[in-house]
Symmetry: C2
Subunit: 180 residues, 2 copies
């Protein structure tokens, strides 16, 4: 199936293309309005409503965020902005002396084929005490997935992909597309 | 002049109505999409583009935020969300040990009368070391305006209004409206 994947992120495009080799994934390097909302689905839905008026065909987009339990879900849907402004050091400072370090990464894919469908993936874990590792990007150096002792920043790509929230969301989309 | 002021905030409506007694300010208690962006103007412009298709007549909306220098402008246009999630305690924690405590409140009014115009007001100050005072709302207890020793949270409404970023933006709009 021919699918337009709208993203400005090279890494995301490569990951999706690799996991859906049976489909024709065409990258659209364009932006869409991201609204301020509590949930990723809402942001994805608004973006897709915009894109489905601009593009003709099947469309997908992906949005993800880090949700820290003791910070009431902060930075959540604003993860990209928060990373740019206060970064990993800011999150670690907010977590100083905090015992409950639970957090999760969540990814939501919106897929449009006449109507909008959502596929989500979650990776549970904890916020580390310090930054560790230089791999990955964003919050990877401060996130330790469940059952691990290393941060995402300390893992090779293959190892990280086993846990990947985005990978899980892509797999759900893959399964859905098989039903056609 | 008859102006629709779109806001869900009672306090904002009262402030605007009080400062523009020569105009017929009609409250529209409706919401509009707020996008994720670096600047308040961009958020206001997107919201107004949406509203000007829904309402017939002159329209205004107001958006404001707290911008902390040493946090690269955080929480900025996401002030409302950040307040809900990590609150004043979160900001104070991020500012622990930080010498440069400069910050400013900024308000942007978008006014539509066939085209969109912007009016802004800024109130400079510093982030206090601790929360002080129970007046006002939001970040008022941790913000000390320039030339003062008290936080907004420790001031009476009249005193605070002297410094108000929103008041300054409203005055600029008022002046503009006089030119008609």
């Amino acid at each position: 199936m021919k699918i337009y994947f709208v993203t400005t992120n090279d890494g995301k495009y490569e990951e999706v293309k690799k996991m859906l080799p049976e489909h024709d994934i065409i990258r659209k390097n364009m932006t869409y309005p991201e609204i301020q909302a509590d949930g990723l689905e809402e942001v994805a839905k608004f973006g897709m409503d915009f894109l489905s008026k601009k593009l003709d065909g099947n469309i997908m987009l992906e949005d993800s965020g880090l949700f820290v339990q003791s910070l009431n879900g902060f930075p959540g849907v604003y993860s990209a902005y928060v990373f740019k402004s206060i970064g990993n050091d800011g999150i670690l400072k907010l977590m100083e002396g905090v015992e409950d370090r639970r957090a999760y990464f969540k990814s939501v894919i919106a897929f449009y084929d006449g109507e909008v469908r959502f596929f989500e993936g979650i990776c549970k874990g904890v916020i580390s005490e310090t930054k560790k590792g230089g791999n990955g990007f964003g919050y990877d150096p401060i996130f330790i997935p469940e059952g691990e002792t290393k941060t995402f920043g300390e893992m090779e790509r293959e190892e990280k992909n086993e846990y990947s929230h985005r990978g899980k969301a892509i797999l759900k989309l893959k399964k859905f597309l098989e039903s056609f």
